[in-house]
Assembly symmetry: C2
């Protein structure tokens, strides 16, 4: 009897795997290291082997959902730099191991957003945007319950929207992307340059500076950190404004390490968002993600359950 759904979140360091009931209850989860040798050629076979090793019977599996770190169009990823993958047809490759299976693939940021929508902060919603603040900035947009992929799988690339014209150069080649000022390294850079420019003292130890320590220092009243966090909130509030008018989500969910800094940063982002007055989107809810690192496996499972 087919009664299990497998959610697989393929990351650059680990692959997270979850076994779910057909109604979406997580029954078992584990992770395996991502084998990036031979341009990631062994990743999919190792996922299948791991499932078998854990006692998952392929005959009981309704389907396999995958979240992968790259653009996806029609279940094919156009490339995942962090895995060594070029254009990769996961459905075709994984389908050779798990024959006659239902396989659905989406981008990891979309999948995390779907996870929060179906099982996390956004239960009951159908229009949601998730912004993940980490080493980079990920974005996933859901409208009418489905992730927006776009023509080239690049929908929801919120981290590369310019929010500071003439700002610092981003890896993408443009100056002043959201990622240059609001990613973990962007926040540290803003802190160091602001401290230097304003010649201020700070309680933050420069040898051990992180986005989290800066948020904590701002909460304690450290002047440089407060300036940096207020500016961060301005940029993130502006990003919320932009997405609220683009696809008009009912809820914007912040995930990732920086967003774990409690309500302090979130409250500041909400204040900034309120500076924009277009009435129809004033009630857009801004909140924190709930599923943490499990958002990916939940969302990957939901790809199958809601397909």
């Amino acid at each position: 009897m087919k009664n299990k759904v497998v959610g697989i979140d393929v990351g650059g360091t680990t692959v997270k795997i979850g076994i779910f009931s057909d109604s979406g209850t997580l029954q078992q989860k584990w992770e395996i290291p991502t084998n990036k040798s031979d341009n990631g050629a062994h990743i999919l076979s190792e996922i299948y082997q791991s499932l078998i090793h854990k006692g998952v019977n392929p005959l009981h599996v309704i389907g396999y959902g995958f979240g992968v770190p790259g653009p996806v169009v029609n279940n094919i990823t156009l490339g995942c730099v962090n895995l060594g993958w070029g254009i990769t047809d996961i459905k075709d490759i994984f389908g050779k191991y798990a024959e006659h299976s239902h396989i659905v693939v989406d981008n990891d940021a979309n999948v995390a957003a779907l996870g929060e929508l179906s099982y996390g902060a956004g239960i009951g919603k159908s229009d949601l945007v998730m912004i993940t603040l980490g080493t980079g900035i990920g974005g996933g947009i859901i409208t009418a319950g489905k992730s927006v992929k776009g023509a080239f799988g690049a929908a929801g690339e919120i981290g590369h929207i310019v929010v500071k014209h003439g700002g610092r150069l981003c890896n993408c080649g443009t100056n002043g992307c959201l990622e240059t000022v609001a990613s973990a390294s962007g926040i540290i850079h803003e802190f160091l340059t602001t401290k230097e420019e304003l010649q201020l003292q700070s309680i933050v130890n420069e040898n051990n500076v992180s986005a989290r320590t800066i948020v904590d220092a701002a909460r304690q009243g450290d002047s440089v950190s407060m300036i940096v966090i207020d500016r961060l909130a301005f940029y993130l509030g502006y990003a919320c404004h932009i997405v609220s008018l683009a696809t008009n989500p009912e809820m914007i969910v912040f995930g990732g390490g920086v967003s774990n800094a409690g309500e302090f940063l979130l409250d500041k982002i909400k204040q900034q968002f309120k500076q924009y007055h277009f009435s129809a989107v004033q009630n857009t809810e801004i909140t924190k993600a709930m599923l943490g690192n499990d958002a990916g496996i939940y969302g990957a499972a939901s790809l199958v359950i809601n397909d």
Copy 2:
């Protein structure tokens, strides 16, 4: 035999009506004045009467598609200020005249975008954004062939995205929305203030200034107009950048009066868009709308045909 589709574009001044074959060929079109008396209570009955008067047999109609100037969620408009309508269930009201009919309703900007997608500049595409430059700025976003409505029907409100922080106050209550610098009146305002600030002469007659005359003057080398149009192109290029990363359309289509100014403005917008380098969206096509004022009836018909 049911073999006709009716596309209805309800505007503040006129209602445009088109009769289409079931494959989307326009067979007949006309317009009637929008009767705004009694808070627009007669608009829908007058549309039905006009159809009967023109010899349309309701028994031959597969369905009626409506584009209306306000937010729409689940076929219900939350209000159309220009028509005098509050929350209005068109399906219910019009369904009393045209019994047992298929009725589909969407926002007018979405419907125009669907028209261009199905029968105009975007034939063959499934991801498209349309930006209409007129008295205001309308936006319609299509992903995977469907218009994005959002939680409160406010998706695609591109005209209210802030592009100039601290800029002029918009009707929506926010400063520096795209509409304040790139709508017809916004362009005139930018022209007059720039001329005043820089104390420059211009070939544009201030008593007869319009967005179109400013574009024409810029093409002839008028300095103030050139400055204004370059800045306009910067703002519109930035808007294209934002939507290209939000929903990643294959094509962005400009419609409305200002966009009829030939390739001159469009080329400048394209140049500005190229300043943003995120590779996956570099090939987003930017082009002019093709259907002019008929985009609405075509799109309204496509709501029925593609439903």
